[in-house]
């Protein structure tokens, strides 16, 4: 009786686990034998870039979806894409142009486009930074559910801000025409400026995304940093004029006007506004614009990639 049960027992074991040469093999060797890879390992930089390129449609679709979702509950819907910057610019016109008559010696015809350009261009960088710092920490659900190169998130957010800026540019053109500026060939220069600024913003978003995923507190701190940055970049006044009036030493003027926000704002104003003798371009401004874009764009990407396998940990 016992022999019978033993044989059936043995045969059952033999059936469920046929003798295999793999028995007793350590996990790492077993994995190597069947070509298994460590789950969630960071791919090399070239492979990572290729994976990211393969996800370009997702990046674009995600940024568009975020943009449209913003106003989907409003009755006017996507009209708000243009209406929001238009109202913003109108408020600045009412306060600075009509109420305070503050044209900083430029005349209202130059000052309002000058101001609106500064605000729109700076907002582009500022909101990319803000979106970047929350790109990972605010999307942990997505990061913990699906596989994709994580850089897709900050890049997508920067792209969303770029599309937002394009709507704002429509408003800016309306203001320029309204204040009697005629379209000139130099307006085309905004295209390279926007490309360079977008590279810079994306790099900044990538850097902040990594920092923000480790230290979520940065999201609280960042508004103060960007506000200081705004005043140091001459968004509402001519930076050089203001510094000269305050008798700032020459190197301060040089350093502040070489900061990336000031560089992109100056280039944009210089391209769009005629009669801008008051708008000083710092020396080597195009090289600065290119340099900031490359240093932040490439540096930010590599910096972000280095912690790829860590995103998603709480």
């Amino acid at each position: 009786m016992s022999t019978v049960s033993e044989t059936t027992h043995d045969s059952a074991v033999a059936m469920s686990a046929p003798p295999s040469p793999d028995d007793g093999l350590p996990a790492a060797e077993l994995a190597r034998k069947y070509g298994l890879a460590v789950s969630g390992a960071r791919p090399p930089l070239g492979e990572y870039t290729r994976q990211l390129w393969a996800r370009r449609h997702f990046i674009l679709a995600f940024s568009r979806a975020k943009l449209t979702a913003q106003y989907s509950k409003a009755k006017l819907g996507q009209v708000w894409q243009v209406a929001t910057p238009l109202l913003n610019a109108t408020v600045y016109f009412l306060i600075f142009g009509l109420l305070m008559q503050q044209s900083k010696g430029m005349g209202i015809r130059t000052y309002i486009p000058f101001l609106v350009t500064g605000i729109f261009v700076f907002t582009f960088t500022q909101s990319s930074a803000m979106a970047g710092v929350r790109a990972i920490s605010g999307n942990l659900g997505l990061v913990r559910a699906l596989h994709f190169p994580r850089a897709a998130l900050p890049i997508s957010f920067a792209l969303q801000q770029l599309q937002q800026l394009l709507y704002s540019m429509v408003v800016l053109f309306l203001f320029l025409l309204g204040f009697g500026h005629t379209p000139a060939l130099s307006w085309l220069l905004i295209v390279p400026v926007l490309v360079l600024q977008f590279c810079f913003n994306t790099g900044l978003a990538l850097i902040l995304a990594r920092a923000g995923s480790k230290t979520p507190d940065l999201a609280q701190l960042l508004p103060f940093v960007t506000r200081t940055w705004m005043y140091a970049s001459g968004v509402m006044y001519s930076l050089v004029d203001a510094l000269e009036k305050a008798k700032a030493p020459g190197w301060v003027v040089d350093v502040l006007s070489a900061n990336p926000a000031a560089v992109y704002i100056d280039l944009m104003r210089w391209s769009l506004i005629e009669n801008h003798s008051r708008i000083h371009l710092p020396p080597h401004v195009w090289s600065l614009a290119l340099g900031w874009a490359l240093v932040f764009g490439i540096g930010g990407f590599v910096y972000f990639w280095k912690a790829e396998e860590q995103y998603g940990r709480g």
Binding site: S16, L36, F58, F148, Q310, G314
Partner: protein, 267 residues
Amino acid sequence: MAEQNPTGAPAAPSGPRVPTVIADDVHIVYRVYGGNTGRGSATAALNRLVRRKPGAGVREVHAVKGVSFTAYRGEAIGLIGSNGSGKSTLLKAIAGLLPAERGKVYTDGQPSLLGVNAAMMNDLTGEKNVMLGGLAMGMSREQIRERYQGIVDFSGINEKGDFITLPMRTYSSGMAARLRFSIAAAKDHDVLMIDEALATGDRSFQKRSEARIRELRKEAGTVFLVSHNNRSIRDTCDRVLWLEHGQLLMDGPTEEVVRAYEKETAR
């Protein structure tokens, strides 16, 4: 009761057993900010910071403690255990979405978690969400267009009218869950992991999704299923891992483990 089954999994349908997932002593630790005990005021937080108490403001949750197993091609493995026993966390680690604190997970190809809901946006129409969800899972635009009708038909969203062109926030929770499952199941997976997906939807949808899981299992390597529904575990799985307190309590054929689990939970 807490016996380990050293023989492991039941036999794969045929041929030599090829491992697809190897978990080697996996530990997972969550770090939670703001989960500290004590008074929640600003002064108390500052006090902790100044006194440099260990781990000021951070608490560690050791969710999975040293789990090892090997999964083979063709297996459907169920994960059972009480709430908070680490089932979902373990799945995320296998998918490579949560980095392991210690130990390693080796996988064949890219395991995917059936968790497309995270990429979807309630303010967008179902139509756009199919596109977005598919892209997020790594499908190409052509693939999604090809399978679009199949996804919509499978979800049954349009059975009650043209709902797919409405924003997802107007869907009932059952409808949304059906659409999510349909999108996620539209892709071919090497290793597929399903977290409680079958609990949603009405009876006819549950039947359809179980059939779809069996299909996926045939096409692809290995299926993991987390569920509190022992019936659906019995219907779909041939091996079960029982987790409790982040540790592997039992690993063996479905009937054996589920019966032991039922005996334990019935008390």
